[in-house]
Amino acid sequence: MALVSFVTSPGHSGTTFQSHGKAVLSATLIGTLLVLAGLGMPKWLTFLLTVAAANGLVSLGIVVLMRSGVVSFGQGLVFAAGGYAAALVFNKVGFHDLIGLAFLGGLIACLIAVPFAPLLSRYRGIFFAMLTLALSMVAYGLLMKLEMLGGSDGFNLGRPTLLGWNLPDQQVGYIVYTVTILIATLMALGVHIYFQSSRGLLMLAVRENELRVEYLGGSVRSVVIFNFAIAAFCGGLGGALAALALGHIEPNFSYWTTSGEFVFVAILGGWQSVISVFLASTIVELVRSFSSSYFPNSWQLALGIFLLVVIRFLPRGIGALWVKEGTR
């Protein structure tokens, strides 16, 4: 394909292997450090980081979409799909494995979202955002009314096992944290490598100018559809992990304000860097938990002001602090 060689300029393809090696190394390092650090953390912090990593996965999906020029305001749909899938299998089928349930959640979310992808891929900008929002609200409406799924209250689920091992009371929080961190690191690494691939570079071209990509023989739709599927998988994974960490699932997973927060984290992180998304997710969780304990009635106010400040002064996200414009 002429386009691929056009996008992957010679200077880039030579460094690809090297940069992957570096990425694998830094991912291993960060993952190990976080897992070790978890041993010395108070319980509230491991829980907060677990939730941040699970939510960060959903925002990672949005970042994948953002790189191809669209933003989904309805990732709550796949978040809820993954969460409900894991929770239902947990309660109804009796399959309790943490890792298995997480990936099952991602898979099911992907299966639910993909049929809509061909339709959605025709839209851009506001329309894409609003249609995805509409889909997630339809799901929200359904989940609220379905008594079988617990209606508006949702339902609880018990404690997961890990590879056949019943988790002891004391360590369960830490183990869920470790697994979540490892899965998040793995996904972040995978997405990072995907960004460097020829398809990943094609995404940036789509973001810059779709029409030119099509003139050059690339398929914009296939890029958007593929990214939508990846985003759905990430979202489902995050949803399943969040539901397992919380031990509870409810229709609010699919509510539009939930989706809005995911978009916020994606914007705060910026689309340049994968790590910054998880950093942003952690910052937002910290802001949320501090402002809800110190100003319980005005944490939305704090979040809103924070959001405005970020968009005003850091329009390309915190990733822009260390990724230079020229390096993409």
């Binding site: 955002a129 030119r212 914007i267 009635n297 005005s298 939305q300 959001l307």
Partner: protein
Amino acid sequence: MVTILIDGLTYASWLFIVALGLTLVFGVLKILNIAHGSFYALGAYAAASFVSWAAAMKLAPGMTLVAMLLAAVVVAALIAPLTERGLLRFFYGRDEVLLVLVTYAMFLILEDVTKLVWGATPYYVSEPYSLFGSVDIGTQTYVVYDFVLVIMALLVGGLVWWWLNRTRQGKITLAVIHNAEIASSMGVNVSKIYMLAFSIGVFLAAIGGALTAPMISVQPGISVGVIIVSFAVVIIGGLGSIEGAAAGALIVGMARSMAVHLAPVAELFSVYMVMAVILMFRPEGLFQPNKARKI
């Protein structure tokens, strides 16, 4: 059957008033304003306060309507300059989706501000609702206020249409909607038009809120429901189109009242179902001319 029609029409009426503001703001400023729902809530809260003050001052019952109108004017006069000049103008020209997020932040802030000012307890202002009495149609009794609402919607829609198409300022606004840059180079003060259109938008949201205040309990959370439904309306009709807002409001109003009466389970679901179906066939909404793609 008649009940469904009348319910649908009433619902469509206030929805039209709110959605008209949303679509106008999008047309002129190119901002899909999530905070529009908050302006609606502010209007409802302000109306609740004003009406109860009017009642406390022992004014004639008819004065409560004036109080409601006044509430909407006050909200528009206070909030519009504050948000447009103080906040939104720093973000003009940025990506549309980013602007949605800016208004989402505004929505979050205003949500808490309304809670701080009015508290979390619901307000009830039913005086204006019973003002016009009721009529019997067939076997059912209907409150005349519902019909007043329909008339108000027609009036408001007509006025905005007249302003846009028949006045000098309206035509200038149309020019700005079409192309702000060229309008500016022809000597139009674009930021004044932005301010004006945004104020009218806020006023429409607030008057929509004020008019519905007597029919509902005014409490936190009403903004969310409104914004979700009015998004559907303007997307169905085509962003930035008055006729579209009217058609969208009617379609959504009817779909919702049918769902409420025939299949209550599907209330919210129905609105978005309709939206998804329409967008499948008319990707840009019902009343949107196709645009050329820019290379």
